[in-house]
């Protein structure tokens, strides 16, 4: 499937927060052809524009963040070991004995160290090492490694992709590059003359580190008439409740909360039903926990919807999603960019 391939290709790129530009050429060759122009702004947001060809048409912003969680080299130790610091909300329970790639002058393979039961001390109990206490094993001498890696070199999960049963897939970096793939696919399915306006796809920077996100300045500079923010959403697992999650396989989620635009939500949900696009709602009392909160308040304010792709194991090297949900998200994007008067109150 075309969408599966694109999700896999985009997710495999290393784009640890602050290093979103790493795969710029690959990104351009993967998705550039479907757009009229592309550019990068001062904070690392990457834009792809598809114009409708009409003067004075509205500007539509689609946001999916390009960055992913990861690690960054903090020191080079004897015998080719590296210490690291976390970037974003890395799940500490999943790091040890994992495969990583150190993106120095060359790509270097590394293993995150762990202690076997044979050598574990009883006083360690059930404590978990902080990311800064971990050692990355590179198999290099300190001397040689110092030529290839420096403090600040990013470290990413080694991309390994698996197709699980049915339409479920697993891999790293699905947060949020799977959504970027859905956005690209959705936009590509709408012919230029069918577009409701000029479409700005923003693959935004620095979402995972919170306060310094690229989405706010990005949305400000484009100043769109309205926007859709797409991010992965926490999928239901056996150890969580329905109210704090969305159903994997339940379709694209739309967040109902004070941040998102009530009119657009209602219209989209109704239209999606007509077109048999599977959606579900996700209700929250405050912020969306996504770029929608930043985009909404950019400049003089931007009406926005928040769309979620259900994901399990978020922030691990083995995130799991359902391709049928991804297809729903792509379809919803296509619907969003092709529907005129979305923000107009008709009721």
């Amino acid at each position: 499937m075309e969408l599966e391939k694109l999700i896999n290709s985009l997710s495999a790129l290393m784009s640890v927060t602050g290093h979103e530009g790493n795969g710029k050429a690959e990104l351009e060759s993967l998705i550039g052809a479907g757009f009229d122009e592309s550019f990068t702004d001062a904070v690392g947001n990457r834009f792809f524009v598809k114009r409708c060809g009409r003067e004075g048409a509205p500007k539509i912003l689609i946001d999916a963040h390009m960055d992913e969680i990861g690690l960054i080299v903090s020191d080079i130790k004897d015998d080719g070991f590296l210490t690291v610091a976390p970037i974003g909300g890395v799940d500490l329970r999943t790091l040890q004995a994992g495969d990583v790639v150190i993106y120095g002058k060359e790509k270097i393979f590394g293993v995150v160290g762990s202690t076997p039961p044979h050598l574990r001390r009883p006083d360690e109990g059930n404590s978990l090492k902080e990311a800064t206490e971990l050692l990355i094993d590179t198999g290099y001498s300190k001397e040689k490694l110092s030529e290839l890696v420096r403090i600040g070199t990013p470290v990413g999960f080694k991309p390994v992709y698996r197709h699980l049963f049915g339409s479920r897939i697993a891999g790293k970096g699905f947060d949020d590059k799977s959504c970027a793939a859905c956005a690209v696919m959705g936009i590509s399915r709408v012919a230029r003359e069918e577009l409701a306006g000029d479409v700005y796809l923003m693959l935004s920077s620095r979402e995972e580190t919170g306060m310094f996100g690229g989405a706010a300045p990005g949305a400000y500079s484009i100043a769109p008439d309205y926007a859709m923010v797409i991010d992965v959403n926490l999928g239901k697992t056996p150890d969580t409740s329905k109210s704090e999650t969305v159903a994997v396989g339940g379709g694209a989620s739309l967040t109902l909360c004070p941040v998102t635009d009530r009119t657009m939500n209602k219209k989209l949900i109704a239209l999606a039903k007509e077109k048999e696009i599977k959606t579900q709602v996700c209700v929250t009392g405050g912020s969306t926990g996504t770029n929608a909160s930043a985009v909404n308040l950019a400049g003089a304010g931007i009406p926005c919807v928040d769309v979620g792709l259900p994901l399990k194991g978020m922030h691990t090297a083995t995130e799991v999603l359902d391709l049928e949900d991804a297809e729903s998200v792509a379809a919803l994007v296509a619907l969003f960019v092709s529907t005129k008067d979305l923000t107009e109150v008709t009721a």
Binding site: P116, F165, K312, M314
Partner: protein
């Protein structure tokens, strides 16, 4: 075998499926590799190759086929697999890792998972999640779907790539190096034994080491050897954050010879003989400098009326995880060390 062939053999064996009790898959590969060489399989599934040496003392050289893994003990209503461990695996290396699950037809991929970091409270984020709180996600969405794919009692292993890495490919990373490396060395040695071998030799590929050193117990009973050499990988921690006294051994300094571990006190004369033989042949070897772990020697040396035991182990970081790490040179030297001992066997 050339260096490339040896690496290829190790890769093939490591990537094969064979958690404790489900060794039949890796056993099949080993039998294929044995080709025309005669072997017997005992009632537990141990593979035994006898190379007769009339009147000579009996030497049993063994390596275990099994690896640590998981066994499915429940399928949930929503299609997840609950599991128990086969052998000692720290929960710190399980969560978020790929696994290969024994299916009803062939193997199926899965992921060991637990609730996302976003749903953990501050206390949970700092603590180890026990394996009983984890589950394997195979992509099934219902009990019916999952039950059509696999069933309780089936097992699983880590799904992890075999990677030669580091400066000039000095290191190897894989699952199950413990103890497919011993199996690889046995297969290599079979074609390289000296003509006038001073031993009546038994090469044994054993089952169920990781739980109770079980398979080797019955083989040793049947063979009743005079000597045994156990080929293994041993846990070491030659890491910058571990004090010298607890590092056990160092990768790249040759295979480790044990004085004692938690299952065996080794035959001191045999140990000294092995060190001397290594020196004579110019093969690197080191003494394991820490009492930890245990291996099949634990059951072999106490079998029948007692057996003089030696353990030769490739030093390995992070064993019992998806990413065991060893030195390529240590692996390549293991056959040479065993050969040195066999060639000088008359003096033992």
């Amino acid at each position: 075998m050339t260096r490339e062939e040896k690496l290829q053999l190790l890769s093939e064996l490591c990537l094969e499926f064979g958690p404790t009790g489900s060794e039949r898959y890796v056993a099949k590969v080993i039998k294929e590799k044995l080709g025309d060489i005669e072997y017997t399989v005992d009632r537990l599934g141990n593979i035994i190759v006898h190379i007769p040496g009339e009147g000579a003392p009996k030497l049993m050289v063994s390596a275990h086929m099994d690896e640590v893994g998981f066994i499915i003990n429940e399928i949930t209503d929503d299609g997840y697999l609950k599991f128990d461990t086969l052998g000692g695996i720290d929960p710190r290396v399980m969560c978020g890792k790929y696994v290969t699950v024994e299916g009803k037809e062939g193997f199926i991929p899965g992921v060991i998972a637990a609730k996302a970091i976003h749903h953990q409270n501050a206390d949970e984020r700092k603590k180890v999640t026990p394996h009983k709180s984890m589950y394997i996600d195979i992509g099934a969405t219902s009990r019916e779907e999952a039950e059509s794919l696999t069933e309780p009692g089936n097992s699983a292993t880590f799904d992890s790539e075999f990677v030669i890495f580091g400066e000039d490919g000095a290191f190897i990373k894989s699952k199950a190096i413990d103890d497919r490396i011993g199996c690889a060395v046995l297969l290599d040695l079979l074609g390289r034994l000296p003509k006038n071998c001073p031993f009546d030799l038994y090469f044994c590929f054993t089952v169920r080491e990781e739980i109770g050193l079980s398979g080797a117990r019955t083989v040793a009973h049947a063979i009743d050897p005079d000597f045994c050499i156990v080929l293994e990988s041993t846990a070491v921690a030659d890491l910058p954050d571990v004090p010298e006294s607890r590092r056990v051994a160092k990768l790249g300094d040759g295979c480790a010879i044990s004085l004692r571990d938690n299952a065996t006190i080794y035959d001191r004369d045999f140990v000294n003989f092995a060190l001397e033989a290594a020196k004579k042949k110019g093969v690197a070897a080191q003494i394991k400098k820490y009492v930890s772990g245990g291996n099949d020697a634990g059951s072999i040396h106490r079998s029948v009326d007692g057996v003089r035991a030696l353990a030769i182990s490739v030093p390995s970081r992070y064993i019992h995880s998806p990413a065991n790490v060893i030195s390529t040179a240590d692996y390549l030297s293991m056959s040479e060390l065993v050969l040195a001992i066999i060639e000088n066997g008359k003096e033992l």
